[in-house]
């Protein structure tokens, strides 16, 4: 591949293939890695490292989730705050929030692969894992919102003696197809990426159990040139398939609203604005995890400041698209002249008169104003500032969905159907529970699978060595090529 020279800051320090194996692979193969760095805790001997604490919190909240689901299934969805006129409350807000968070993984793994962006190599594995776990969390909500999750298979088209088929012209059924396809393809893409790394771990593992486990998972991968050829072919095609898929998923999620006639929902800007919002939220979540993980596991040389900087820039750019979307929504409502739409606008922004306007202004603050800090290069290098901004974006994206979904539903066309929405304890328990599930799965992933793609880092290293050799051989040409040490990044 005649690629552009790779940015030198994407891999810091002297590396060899073996040192990359050791840095990344040993996080999985040496369990003691997860006991570092040591932290003093009140309970002696327990929870002495960030991994243990995060996993512990995840496990605790996972149990809250199980409790919340048990309560829900036992009593019915009446335990939630959903009621007329707000049939979609926390469940759909959280569904859209989680699905959005997942989108950065596919964007990083697929779109950046098609664009031949080498900086994806260090972060794609982690981001893809987040995609899968986020979609798992997302999928729980509509599944449980059906009220009888054990009959969820009714949503799939299969011949049955009830003589009943899905209603294919409903965006909710499109959602079933979009989300289940997204989940399946994401897992496949992730697994395909893991196969060569499983082989590396198999050959590196010392314990018999790890050897056997990774041998099984690697399916006997031996790195044959012919296999690599087809493998790369498959990866690029999966990337080409995932790109339209990821765009379609959030587009279809936005159709759930945009195809309805509820004021504030029936807006044509929804699909692009939802997709941009998804990438925005997803990059924020990738950063939220990457910042502490690179520190705890001493991966600063692999996930460098350059990665952080570029991710922050993508976050800023998509954030601006989202912010533009808010302006468009306001303008659309105002310019339409439709009483229901202007009333909704009033209901969103009139901070003295409208009961839910606080949510809208939190949204503007956390999602519109605070991310503007990312314009300053200094703040993009400051871990604390970044962490504050990414957390703010995660909160903001949640409020975006809250503003769109329950607020619109409380004020429909018929004044007799006006109402209020307030979530119950079990709504919050369920939300906290899915965050716990996500944490739990993420830290299991960090424990048992290589969190950075080993063979792609080797590829990056190989290409950098090549660039260096090339620069030495053609010393004179260096002045003519656009990206060099002097004028490059």
């Amino acid at each position: 591949m005649a690629d552009m020279p790779v940015d030198k800051d994407l891999l810091i320090g002297k590396h060899t293939n073996a040192s990359l194996d050791a840095t990344i692979g040993d996080i999985v193969l040496v369990p003691a890695t997860h006991n570092e760095p040591r932290i003093k805790t009140p309970i002696k001997g327990f929870f002495t490292s960030p991994w243990q604490i995060a996993f512990g919190i995840g496990f605790l909240f996972l149990n809250i989730l199980l409790l919340a689901i048990t309560m829900l299934v036992w009593n019915g969805i009446g335990v939630w705050g959903n009621n007329q006129p707000v049939g979609w409350g926390f469940d759909i807000v959280n569904f859209v929030w989680w699905i959005g968070i997942g989108h950065a993984g596919t964007l990083i793994s697929a779109v950046l692969l098609l664009l031949r962006q080498k900086w994806r190599n260090a972060i794609n594995r982690m981001a893809e894992a987040m995609t899968i776990f986020a979609v798992m969390c997302a999928g729980l909500y509509p599944l449980l919102h059906t009220g009888r999750p054990w009959l969820a298979y009714w949503m799939f088209p299969y011949p049955n003696w009830l003589g009943m088929w899905p209603q294919f012209r409903s965006p909710l059924i499109w959602d079933v197809f979009a989300v289940s396809t997204y989940m399946t393809v994401s897992i496949l893409f992730w697994y395909v990426g893991l196969i060569p790394d499983f082989a590396t771990l198999r050959d590196r593992a010392k314990s018999r159990f790890a050897q056997l486990a990774f041998a099984g998972l690697s399916m006997g991968w031996r790195g044959s040139a012919k296999h690599w050829h087809r493998y790369e072919h498959a990866s690029i095609m999966l990337a080409g398939l995932s790109t339209p898929l990821v765009l379609s998923v959030h587009t279809i999620v936005s159709y759930d609203f945009a195809m309805g006639i509820v004021p504030g929902w029936n807006v044509t800007i929804f699909p692009p604005y939802f997709v941009a919002g998804a990438v925005f939220a997803g990059f924020a979540m990738v950063l939220t995890f990457a910042i502490p993980l690179r520190k705890w596991y001493k991966l600063e040389n692999l996930i460098t400041m350059k990665h952080i900087d570029w991710m922050a820039k993508v976050m800023l750019a998509t954030g601006l698209i989202v912010f533009y979307g808010y302006f468009t929504e306001v303008f659309y409502a105002y310019y339409s002249g439709v009483p229901a739409e202007t009333a909704l606008l009033h209901n969103r922004i009139a901070y003295k008169d409208a009961p839910y306007s606080w949510a809208f202004w939190i949204l503007i603050l956390t999602n519109g104003i605070i991310p503007q800090l990312m314009w300053f290069p200094k703040l993009r290098q400051n871990m604390l500032a970044l962490f504050v901004v990414t957390t703010s974006v995660s909160i903001g994206m949640w409020f975006e969905r809250y503003v769109i979904i329950p607020i619109s539903l409380t004020r429909d066309y018929v004044p007799g159907a006006f109402g209020f929405y307030s979530p119950t304890l079990w709504d919050f328990a369920m939300f906290a529970g899915t965050i716990g599930l996500f944490l739990f799965l993420m830290f299991l992933f960090i424990r048992f699978l290589p969190m950075i793609n080993i063979f792609e880092m080797k590829e990056l290293l190989h290409q950098m060595e090549h660039d260096e050799k090339h620069a030495k051989e053609h010393g004179d040409h260096a002045k003519l090529t656009p990206v060099t040490e002097e004028n490059g990044q």
Binding site: F168, D203, A225
Partner: protein
Amino acid sequence: MSHGRDTSPKQYGVVAEFDNADSLLDAAQKVKEAGYRDMDAYTPLPVHGLTDVMEWKDDKLGWIVFIMGIKGFALGYFIQWWSSAGPDFSNTALQMNGLMPYVMNVGGKPHFSIPANFPPAYEITILLASFGAVFGMLALNGLPKPHHPIANAAMMARASSDRYVLCVEASDPRYDEDEVYSFLSGLNPLSVERIMTTEGY
């Protein structure tokens, strides 16, 4: 052996290991120039240009993905058409109740139309095409395969980390073990090894 079948180990090939991709590429080029046809390389990362040097090409996978995609698209539309506006079997002898269409009038709109039924067809297209890409790749590569003769080579232990292994296979018409051994030794490898196999009985 007592049953008249020869199950003694046979030659699989000769392997040579290198410590970087460029040496491997040079060696592969020389092996090719020497006239050997059946060879393979085992590397920890995809080495670009290696299959070109080996003059080996396989573009079946693209066709598999394409055909799976077309199938998915057709299947997606077909299920939707059949189930919402399909043939009525109720008065026939077939009595296929489970396959009867469930016709729903939604706002007086057509029971089946191309735009309204597009999203599920689109998703099924992507789903089946992805299955084609992943399972097609695995099938063409012959994976999963728990054991392969190449694993008998000691140097393969590091082929997933930092060694680049080149193998001239015994199936080559010009193969002569000692000749290949000395030829590969002349290419400046870290080590050369003969491998045997008992596979294929």
